[in-house]
């Protein structure tokens, strides 16, 4: 089984805020981490390799420092890593990102399974996986919470639904996005960490991929962020005061004013 896991380096979202005065994102000093959902995608690939054999390539698009998450992936046990890195990719939205990752996956050759995290913790779109499948012409399944063993060119999975789940059969090659419920990711081994230190990463530019300049970076991104702002509500509850009847009246008034009820 030839597998690719897409991993993204993200700012630790719990520490990112908007400056309420200037409406600028405050990202200075915020550490970068591997997107937590992507650990579950790596774990799923490692377990599949243990079950049926094969090879795993970790793939990331990002600035040079995104190399860190790829080394982490190697420490966890993936076989190889590719960083897609070029200034021309700056400003990519999900459409441009998925196009670029699709080109890299094609360049890798025959691939049976692409695994992504459910979503990134910065953009939180959950769109890159399904868009990737569309570019590649692969089968696709999002919100995977259980995974079978591939057999005869197909794979059975369970995906979440609001009222339960669906059992889905996919023809390979396929793209999956996985939920945290799928597995408990392992920690890196000592041997893995040593390997990660010395491993050579492949670095591919826009030219290496033969990317169409109109489909990458800002030019290839139909969406624009027109602004960011901080949510108005504070995090702590507004405690109501007065007698029980007064509190209840005040609550109903607020809920009606805010059209919650």
């Amino acid at each position: 089984m030839e597998m690719v896991v897409c991993v993204k380096q993200v700012p630790d979202a719990s520490e990112v805020r908007v400056d309420p005065a200037t409406n600028n994102l405050m990202r200075e000093g915020v550490p970068s981490i591997m997107n937590p959902f992507d650990r579950h995608a790596i774990e799923a690939a490692l377990r599949l390799r243990e079950a049926v054999g094969g090879r795993i390539t970790a793939l990331s698009m990002g600035p040079p420092q995104a190399e860190e998450v790829l080394r982490e992936a190697i420490a966890l046990g993936v076989d190889e890593a590719v960083l897609v890195c070029d200034r021309a990719f700056a400003g990519s939205d999900t459409l441009a990102t998925s196009y670029t990752l699709a080109l890299a996956i094609r360049k890798l050759g025959a691939v049976d399974l692409v695994l992504c995290g459910q979503q990134s913790i910065d953009g939180e779109t959950a769109q890159v996986g399904p868009e990737l499948a569309e570019h590649l012409g692969f089968a696709q399944c999002s919100y995977v919470r259980a995974l079978g063993k591939p057999a005869e060119g197909a794979l059975e999975v369970e995906r979440a639904a609001e009222d339960g789940y669906e059992r889905v059969r996919l023809l390979l090659p396929a793209v999956l996005t996985v939920m945290k419920e799928l597995n408990e990711p392992r920690l890196p081994s000592l041997k893995g960490m040593l390997r990660a230190k010395k491993a050579e990463l492949r670095i591919w530019t826009a030219a290496d991929l033969g990317a169409d300049p109109s489909r990458i970076g800002q030019a290839g991104s139909p969406t624009r962020v027109a602004g960011v702002f901080a949510p108005q509500r504070g995090k702590k509850a507004q405690l109501l005061t007065g007698s029980v009847v007064e509190q209840v009246q005040a609550l109903v008034e607020r809920l009606q004013a805010e059209r919650v009820i």
Binding site: P11, A13, S14, V18, L25, T94, L95, I121, D122, G123, E124, T125, A126, Q127, G129, P130, E131, E134, H135, A139, Q140, C141, S142, E156, A161, E162, D163, G164, Y165, E166, R167, V168, R169, L171, S221, P222, T223, R224, V225, A226, G227, V228, F229, A230, P231, R233, K235, K236, A237, Q238, L239, L240, V244, Q247, V248, L251, V252, Q256, V260, I261
Partner: protein
């Protein structure tokens, strides 16, 4: 070039023969956008044997319903649904396409957007038209909700978005409202690469809670299983459903199928009222996406007040009946 793309569209979603509440919410929003910009509001209804749902779509505000009825669309096969929706969009060229931010909607919409090469905003909580440019402006939470971003799609069409369920106001239903029903055939160029073997519903409670706009949840603070009756009365006034914390499902006070949290359901109602629930992290992870959270707890230091928007410090057995009575009086129910 974007001038000749006109119309505000909603992709309808249904399950077990009934439309999801989010489809009504989207139509409510689409009506507002359509009226402000003099554009027609249309719904796309894909499925099999679903023609009877068209009337409901008209009542919720659709001027036109595109019905694609085919056995291959009976289940949520993304490949087929993406193809049907994308083809209609290419033929009719709407300016805006809104999709419910459900598991299926958030899987389907990016397939359609990539096929059309257009922009898609995920999981938006607010939608409006910019009065000057006429562009769709979507507000979307990111970085775990600490940042709100405004997203537009200035050039390509259609402008697409998934909208988080239960964040938009409920639509006004107009009984007997009529519209145009257009039937379209489904002729996929390629066979699906996936099959739904089975759709498993995990009990009525899960289905109700998933689609509930209001959830009233009870914890150990209720003191006795019979007090859940108070929550059921409150939920009934609000047209909502009742859920429970782990402490009470473990005690057997309420069905485990109604458990919310890490080991239970993740819910996203417009209003979540936590009654006698301490707010342990394992419970709170299940309600992060709720719109407004109200906590009723007698301990002012209970962690639930850290994440609630409104808090009442008091005895649930006293506060809940008072709240029910007040709502009955105000809402005339």
């Amino acid at each position: 070039m974007s001038e000749d793309w006109r119309g505000i569209w909603v992709v309808a979603e249904h399950r077990h023969g009934a439309l999801l509440a989010v489809t009504g919410e989207l139509l409510g929003a689409a009506r507002r956008l359509g009226e402000a910009s003099r554009q027609e509001v249309a719904a796309v209804l894909c499925g099999h044997g679903v023609e009877k749902l068209a009337g409901e779509l008209f009542a919720w505000g659709a001027d036109r319903v595109y019905l694609v009825d085919d056995p291959r669309l009976a289940a949520n096969v993304d490949d087929y649904h993406a193809e049907a929706v994308a083809k209609l969009i290419q033929e009719e060229r709407p300016s805006v396409v809104l999709v419910g931010g459900t598991f299926f909607g958030r899987s389907l919409a990016p397939r359609v957007a990539a096929r059309l090469g257009t922009g898609l905003t995920a999981d938006a909580t607010e939608v409006e038209l910019d009065p000057e440019s006429g562009l769709l402006r979507l507000t979307k939470p990111s970085y775990g909700g600490d940042v709100l971003a405004v997203i537009t799609c200035p050039e390509r069409r259609p402008q697409m978005a998934t909208l988080r369920p239960h964040t938009l106001p409920a639509p006004q239903r107009q009984e007997g409202r009529q519209g145009v029903l257009e039937r379209r055939t489904f002729a996929p160029v390629r066979e699906a690469r996936m099959a739904i073997l089975e759709a498993v519903s995990e009990g009525a409670c899960a289905a109700n809670l998933a689609d509930a706009r209001v959830i009233v949840a009870g914890g150990r603070g209720l003191g006795d299983p019979k007090n859940f009756k108070l929550l059921e009365e409150l939920a009934a006034v609000l047209g909502g459903a009742v859920a429970a914390s782990r402490a009470v499902t473990d005690l057997g006070w309420y069905p485990a199928a109604c458990l919310v949290g890490q080991t239970g359901l993740t819910v996203a109602p417009r209003l979540y009222i936590a009654c006698g629930i301490s707010g342990a992290i394992q419970h709170v992870v299940g309600i992060r996406r709720a719109g407004t959270i109200v906590a009723i707890n007698k301990d002012p230091h209970a962690p639930i007040f850290e994440i609630a928007h409104y808090g009442i410090v008091g005895d649930v057995l006293e506060v809940v009946p008072a709240l029910t009575a007040e709502l009955r009086r105000r809402l005339g129910r």
